[in-house]
Symmetry: D2
Subunit: 291 residues, 4 copies
């Protein structure tokens, strides 16, 4: 597989009122995003509500995505657990289904030591034959990855990418200087994509790209070509969407945005709630401003 790069929208997990996965809507969403030019798809990220779904529902989401994509772009399936053995079993299951890479998340209840964090990710990477994206989100997960841990993990032949959802862009430059080509860096929605591209990022994996795939790809192309002025014009317009995304519940925001765009993705899993009508109108304005 060529090196991953570009725009990877985090897919929402469309759910019916009874909690079952709405596979047809998910398939249609995959088609729509690929048609818009995205470089890959990422089911079961934060936006995909992995933390709220049963193992069976998660498997349906990954399976449906892989079937819908049918090899047109790479699929990076999210694996998240507090327990090593459970994470390994998820990862192997998604690999068998045909995932191109694993996005690996460590959830924690009790505090974890650096050695335990390294052990968790290493055991997943040892168990599969596809690359891993390690994912750190200090806002939502209880275990953060220090630079020392990231450097050590980057030495594993299958730990090839990092997605960082801190807001600290300088940290990304430090990681790049520390790990060099061993670790490709993707931005999350909390970073300015153009800034991360400037310092050497490979692209971004983010929920807002679900709602603005075409504009995201356009921004990516400007950055790749070094057209920084055009990039910043596109970036300024898109940033309003990232701001809304940060202000609202992630899943609620992207699900509402997709509903506005005609995708019947349902509500976020309770006790999460959908956007209020005021938030909904605010998001409509933001989306309107993008086109």
């Amino acid at each position: 597989m060529a090196r991953l790069h570009g725009v990877f929208p985090y897919l929402v997990s469309p759910l019916r009122d009874d909690g079952s996965v709405h596979t047809k809507v998910l398939s249609r969403l995959c088609d729509h995003l690929i048609d818009a030019g995205v470089h890959g798809l990422a089911p079961l990220g934060s936006t995909g509500e992995f933390a709220y779904l049963s193992h069976e529902a998660r498997a349906v989401v990954v399976e449906t995505t892989i079937a819908a994509v049918a090899g047109r772009v790479p699929v990076i399936a999210g694996v998240a657990s507090t327990a090593t053995v459970d994470a390994v079993s998820q990862a192997k299951r998604y690999e068998r289904m045909g995932a191109d890479a694993i996005l690996a998340v460590l959830e924690a209840y009790f505090p974890v030591s650096e050695a335990q964090i390294v052990a968790y990710f290493t055991e997943i990477a040892d168990a599969v034959g596809i690359p891993l994206v390690i994912y750190t989100n200090p806002s939502f997960q209880r275990a953060d990855l220090t630079l020392a841990v990231i450097e050590r993990l980057s030495e594993h032949p299958r730990i090839a990418y990092l997605k960082d959802a801190s807001t600290n862009t300088g940290r990304l430059l430090s990681i790049m200087q520390l790990c060099g080509d061993r670790l490709g860096v993707f931005a999350a929605s909390s970073h300015i994509p153009a800034s991360v591209m400037l310092i050497g990022g490979l692209g971004w994996m983010a929920g807002p790209a679900c709602l603005a795939p075409r504009q995201s790809v356009e921004l990516y192309e400007h950055c790749r070509a070094g057209r920084w002025q055009e990039a910043m014009t596109a970036q300024r317009r898109l940033w309003r969407l990232n701001e809304a995304f940060a202000r609202f519940n992630l899943a609620a925001c992207v699900k509402a945005g997709l509903a506005i765009q005609g995708f019947d993705v349902g509500a976020p899993v309770r006790p999460q709630s959908p956007l209020s009508s005021e938030q909904y109108r605010e998001l409509e304005l933001v989306l309107h401003g993008l086109s």
Copy 2:
């Protein structure tokens, strides 16, 4: 059922190397603790590693405990989820198994609003016919219960108790003054049990009581009888165990202590690790000092 009160050890979940629940060890532990005089048992608290076990393993733990206890003391089964529907289903399942009460925990990934917290606990309480203990642990869970939320929840006829694992003892007095008899308050291991009894607590639900059940009951009896000097003598001795418990990983600490006492409870779920040999020796000294 009479009002819950007294010492409720949080049970560990004994596991074999292959991850299966060691039900015989768990049954023997229940007998041992009841023989020592404890007033009830609490499977699937933090110490019971609920956050690391599959739904099936959790059910085995609750079922085994209820069978072993056989009505001798009340059993409070732990329910924890990020998702309301899942929590309700756990609670109903444990009720059908014969649990006397539910310890209800809200895990969160995305931030939750007060209204969402209230909705989660209310929906569980609406679904069952047994009392709820609401449990808040600001160190390990991402959703804390404010006084306003606790007051509102205490108005539900089945939300009858609170277990607070903050370290803020004054907060407990404020809760007692706010909710009065509607809400019975239990301490966690982070509070000094004698202090909480002084201000009007009903007892404590805590992991260390697994390792010192007889001494914990003795302390409780002193407090109930108003023998505060004797209580403090007992309390000072016991406090060293709470200190060790706070310093180490909870499950690792209680599992090591039970191994020292002859219970083959296995290691905590990976990537958690057992106590180091130095920590093990430190715990041996603490336990030795208790007898």
Copy 3:
């Protein structure tokens, strides 16, 4: 000097509109509190707004207090700085004025190491011939004192007391077990005084005692005599005042309460603001409920 013990109200610093210290009001307040039976007075604590006053205003507050007290009870003068040399100079100045003890606070801007914290307090203690109370308030100061630091400091012959303004009452028991008789422990308003007395505290140093000196002394007497039931009756009534104190700005709350009681202490230093009229009425109700 006998060992410090009992109730030490934190004095507000009465200020005129032009910022000058209203020494007459301060003297009258000292008389009032001593008449009510308090065991000592503490100018320049948090409540005394040390963090907002010039060095000259601070000196006037200490000097006025010592003159007004005229040896009737001990005076503990607050010393606070980011810089060691400055703190030493404040402490020596207050000792020359006749202070009986120093309450020592370390303010920090950049993070400080444990060695630097130890050096700061040790250098103050080395410079004076009177005892030190070390004061730690994790809510307002940026340098917290760990148990290891406290244990080490307690070995200094003149570091004889601790005032802890965390909310963690268990931490106080751990400190008492660690330091024994070398370090007397006082509660701050964030702890329940009766709880701290139960576990072996010497008393409390707190802003609310400025507003309820007689009731505070009564509570102290109950605790000292082991009348825990009466103590808790008194404590429950008093606790509402601590709750108000925690909810409002400390200086604004005590200054408003003293104004209600007839002391013209002025407003807190800007940009702090006085209580709103709604807060003021709430405080009036709390004070009314005390008598």
Copy 4:
């Protein structure tokens, strides 16, 4: 005055062992930095240890800087206090001395409301006739400036610039979009200068520029000219210095670096301590790598 822009090194405050300001060294440092091409100088930032100096020492630092600079570049003097009246008096004093702008910092002990924050900065801006740079550093100060507060402050005719020392680069883009031309944005050392220039920043105000003035100006020129590839080459080299700066105590780091470069600036104010010999060697390597 033309709009401020470019590289503004934060000056250290050179001190003799007796605590007095070493004015000759400070003057020589100013000459050195201006010769290297910096666009302005900023005495009494965090790096200048404002939080550790008496008001008199602060005034000597500002006066010395203004005299040494003699109008060659703008001087932005730091004002910091917990108390509004004190801050206003500092600002007016520095304006009379000839400062070109004021860097205004709010220190806090008790929590402050948004209205109080707005009042503090507005009162300073009302009192002077020169522009204000508002400065927010969530790591070291207890009062952070929200976007709503910044937007409101930006409407004051003399609040013209912001220096942000968060690590959140996306926040800067949001501020730029919110305030437009009313508020010029400067980066602190925690941001990647090239990233901030890309999104529309005016330059940076930072301690590391004291140690690498020439290279910083070079980086600035590349950014201004849109030579982003050259900028990133320069940026990658310089970033190691920002990393050291973040890892060590700021004042200790820049003072050690200046000592290496031949400036006798003395040690940081105690209880801060100089770099350890190991840290010193690490910094030597970083500085060596710059040239």
